[in-house]
């Protein structure tokens, strides 16, 4: 590296592989909003790494909520834009294949929202900012048992998408461990983009289940909930963290009120750092940040913290990427707005989950916290 090239390299480039269009565009928007807000804050005085001050530059690539596009976006960010690290993709369907790319090209990646175990499995360069489905599934099963006294449960999930499929299986395993083989009396599937679930829901209503677990995204949940009610389902419906991302209440309205879901953080009633973040976000974008926004904030900060902790960048992309990866794997007690986290050697954080209730005003209010 010559001195001249170095002078032009006073920015830290991070790539964002996020769904700005496609099935879950609100998730991409939240992530981008959160990142833009963080960038503004940091670039006020720059970020000090070693004895040099850098500005940050964020590059957003749209992955169209598709696995293939997430892979090409990751390729572009890493090889063409030469980012130091990558944040995203958000959902597991894109994060699992994109993680493969990041790991092969030896670039640190933090997925803020992907809870599927395969995202980080055997991939030293891939990390995440949230808990895992292997923790979320049992948490939901335990909650269904304690809260509703359910001995029989039903599950409806998208078999063509990694996240719901993995989570549905984790829930089933945990629930059947508690109540015996066959206690998940209906395990119904559909395929991405389906809008009619009447046949599956008919089976579920007739199965005698006491609770319905729906690990789906905000755009599918309203359809499922409304059709379930139209078929006479009047028992509780339990959701997963995917309910929190995007505009669930705008699409679902009154129909979703009173239901519970497991998630990463609850905006209503937050304190301290979390409240500061929520207030700043509200002031800037005029809406409450969802869990995607909060996790993107934490994941990006985590990446920047790791860059700081390397003690100085060499300017050689490959070498710096490796140094960041090494630091990320040893983070202990990182104090994020979604809670404290420490990393396991796999790249997964150990952190608590919260269960929120959708109250009568449509807010996600804190109901209880479940720690590993």
């Amino acid at each position: 590296m010559t001195g001249l090239a170095h002078a032009a390299d006073d920015t830290i480039k991070l790539g964002f592989d996020i769904p700005l269009t496609g099935d879950i565009p609100d998730v991409g928007e939240s992530a981008k909003n959160s990142a833009e807000m963080l960038k503004e804050q940091i670039n006020k005085d720059g970020i000090k790494v070693g004895d040099k001050t850098y500005k940050v530059e964020f590059i957003y690539e749209d992955n169209e909520s598709k696995a293939e596009s997430a892979v090409s976006a990751a390729n572009k960010l890493i090889t063409q834009d030469e980012v130091l690290g990558m944040v995203g993709p958000q959902s597991s369907k894109q994060a699992v294949p994109a993680g493969e790319v990041a790991n092969n090209l030896k670039t640190p990646m933090v997925s803020p929202w992907s809870t599927n175990p395969n995202t980080t499995l055997d991939r030293p360069y891939v990390f995440r900012g949230c808990f895992l489905d292997t923790f979320q599934g049992p948490t939901a099963a335990k909650f269904a048992t304690q809260e509703f006294g359910a001995k029989k449960a039903a599950v409806l999930y998208d078999i063509a998408s990694d996240y719901p499929k993995g989570l549905a299986e984790d829930f089933k395993k945990a629930f059947e461990k508690m109540h015996g083989e066959g206690s998940v009396v209906a395990f119904e599937t559909f395929t991405t983009k389906d809008v009619d679930f009447s046949a599956q829901l008919t089976n579920i209503v007739k199965s005698g289940a006491e609770v319905l677990f729906v690990p789906q995204y905000y755009n599918e949940v309203p359809l499922i909930v409304k059709q379930a009610k139209a078929l006479g389902w009047d028992k509780p419906i339990l959701g997963s963290d995917s309910w929190g991302g995007g505009d669930l209440m705008g699409l679902c309205g009154d129909d979703c009120k009173g239901y519970f879901f497991v998630t990463h953080y609850a905006a209503a009633g937050a304190k301290g750092k979390t409240k500061d973040f929520i207030d700043a976000y509200k002031a800037k974008y005029n809406k409450t940040p969802d869990d995607v926004a909060a996790l993107t904030w934490d994941s990006t900060n985590l990446m920047l913290q790791a860059i700081k902790d390397t003690g100085g960048l060499t300017g050689k992309t490959g070498k710096d990427r490796k140094a960041i990866m090494k630091v990320l794997g040893t983070v202990k007690d990182f104090d994020g707005i979604t809670g404290k986290m420490s990393f396991t050697p796999e790249g997964d954080p150990i952190k608590c989950a919260v269960v929120v209730k959708i109250d009568d005003a449509g807010n996600y209010s804190f109901y209880e916290s479940v720690c590993p």
Partner: protein
């Protein structure tokens, strides 16, 4: 599965099949008259759903002329309005895309490709105009669930099925009993001799598009009420499937489109009810393929050029 479950699934299938039928009717009308497969029809259905959203929020909500209108009144006003506005979209497509090609005597293949393009333009135009976010359709009529000995029936479900049946009877009446219907059939028989008889061929074709798109708009409205989450690509898959349903019914035959739509709805719902959902399209389309294999003209099709 018990008896109530089977009845429930038959009802589910009738509702789902109604949408295929309503859309298939539009394919069938245009094909019958012009021998044109209007691949933009699925997207006209999507536009119909968005127009419904626009009309419903404009009449219903804070932007409306008369705020606080009851939902049933909004719906009553929305039905004709949505049908008229959607048929305007269909006629516009005919005017700017299909008619110039027809005038120049382009081969049918080029018109079909043009139709495909028009569909993509509608989809992406919507994407550019309203963004990729899902839209929620407001509740016009409260859903009432009636429990008839273990079978859940809702007012919306009954309305959808009824609308499909009325649409079929109406279209059949228009095509078989009215003068303009006779003109439509005549054009399908011989496009070149008919103008010589003093029949205004363009008017009849425009009327066909008005009918087809109007009912796509109606389907869009009913669909938005049943599945109130709208997105720009909602018309693509259902449009394709409705087209297949129309072909299996015998494209060009109104009875065929109606029957084909319900047949596809039934097969899809029943496969999901008894098998894993991953097998749905595989089994459904294998059955349809088998039907075409036995009867290549479709259920009600005849191996003649006069169809409709």
């Amino acid at each position: 599965m018990d008896f109530a479950g089977i009845i429930q699934n038959i009802l589910n299938a009738l509702q789902w099949g109604s949408f295929y039928s309503l859309i298939a009717l539009g394919y069938c009308l245009v094909y019958g008259v012009l021998l044109l497969i209007n691949f933009a029809h699925g997207d006209i259905f999507m536009v119909g759903a968005y127009i419904s959203l626009f009309v419903a929020t404009l009449l219903l909500g804070q932007f409306g002329g008369i705020p606080g209108m009851p939902g049933w009144l909004v719906l009553t006003l929305a039905v004709p309005l949505v049908m008229i506005l959607t048929s305007c979209v269909g006629v516009t497509l005919e005017r700017i895309a299909y008619r110039p090609l027809r005038r120049k005597g382009a081969h049918r293949l080029y018109v079909v490709i043009t139709a495909l393009m028009c569909g993509l333009i509608l989809e992406n135009g919507n994407l550019a105009l309203f963004g990729a976010s899902r839209r929620s359709f407001p509740t016009l009529v409260e859903t009432h669930v009636f429990d008839v000995s273990g079978v859940a029936v809702t007012n919306i479900k009954l309305a959808v099925i009824l609308v499909a049946i009325i649409a079929f009877l109406f279209l059949r009446f228009v095509v078989v009993k009215t003068k303009i219907g006779m003109a439509m059939r005549a054009i399908s028989y011989d496009k070149f001799a008919v103008p010589l008889m003093g029949i205004p061929i363009d008017t009849v074709i425009v009327f066909t598009f008005v009918l087809g798109s109007g009912f796509a708009g109606l389907a869009g409205l009913m669909f938005a009420m049943t599945y109130p989450v709208l997105d720009p690509y909602m018309g693509a898959m259902i449009g394709w499937k409705a087209f297949i349903a129309a072909v299996v019914g015998g494209i060009g035959s109104i009875r065929g489109a109606f029957a084909g739509g319900f047949l596809l709805g039934f097969v899809e719902i029943m496969v999901v009810a008894f098998f894993p959902s991953t097998l749905r399209d595989l089994i459904a389309f294998s059955i349809l393929l088998f039907i075409l294999w036995l009867k290549p003209t479709g259920l009600y099709g005849v191996a003649r050029r006069t169809k409709i």
